[in-house]
Structure formats: C-alpha cells, structure tokens
Symmetry: C2
Subunit: 86 residues, 2 copies
C-alpha cells in the first residue's frame, strides 16, 4: 500500500460537504458516501425527532453491525473451504 498515492475526494453527505483522504478510487469514495447519505435519510425518516449527529451515530452503529455479520460470514466460508480442501 505504501506506493499508493493518497487522494482527496470531496463528497456531499446529508447536506454537508466532506473531504475524504485515502487511496481508494474517487468513484468508490463517492459510492460509499452515497450509501451513507441514503442510510442517514432512511434512519431520519423513521426518527423525525433525531438531530443529524444522532442520525450519523446510529448510521455508524448500523454499518458496524452489518460489517460484523459479513465478517462472521467470511469466517464461516473460510472454515467450509478449509474443510473441503482437506
């Protein structure tokens, strides 16, 4: 990863501008931002009384939870592969 150049990508999430610095292609950063924006709008729809900070935190909670489920699925599949390969 050391040879990858870091780029700054500006995205719009929930009406605010963010600068994301990283090695990912800008198209990927924009895609991730659009998913976060979408999740935040979805959560706010069901929780009209919440301010945007709380909506952002609950979006993070939701995303970490989905990440953990995928991580468990990876472990499970790796185990299955290991058993199949003997």
């Amino acid at each position: 990863m050391a040879d990858k150049k870091k780029a700054r990508v500006t995205v719009d999430i929930y009406g605010q501008t963010y600068t994301v610095v990283g090695t990912e292609p800008s198209s990927h950063v924009r895609y991730v931002a659009s998913l976060v924006d979408e999740k935040m709008r979805e959560i706010s729809k069901h929780n009209r009384h919440l301010d945007s900070k709380r909506i952002a935190v609950l979006t993070a909670v939701n995303s970490v939870n989905e990440y953990l489920k995928m991580r468990d699925k990876v472990k499970e599949l790796e185990e299955e592969l290991k058993n199949l390969k003997g």
Copy 2:
C-alpha cells in the same frame, strides 16, 4: 425473525446516550456501540478540528467501506466454494 421480540438497549457513544431498538442480544448491541465509540475517538484523535457530527459521519463512511470489502470477500469465497463443489 417475526417471533423475535424487539428489545430496547441503552448505550453510551462518544459521551451521549442512545437507545437502540432491535432483535439483537443486548450484549451484541453494547459491543457494536463500543466499536463505534472507539472508531469515533480514533478519528477525532487525527482530526481535532472536526465536530462530533462530522466525526460520526466519517465513522459511518469508514464502516460502510469496511462492510463493502467484507461483502466482496464473501462473494469471492462463495465463488471459490461453488467451483470446488463443481
């Protein structure tokens, strides 16, 4: 999932209290919340000028990105398994 009772779990994230409603065990909700709290503190350490809403949004961006990587890994492993099983 229809027979699972929804529970309310109160957690503390980045100095604020949140009530998470869902079917997950409360220990899991607390674990997820602790990961989000940790991520937010990590991001704030490197971005001292950011307010907590922006830190929360960047935590969500980070988490969705990690989720997508795991999702790709799942697809890859499923493909490998499919090929092995013939």
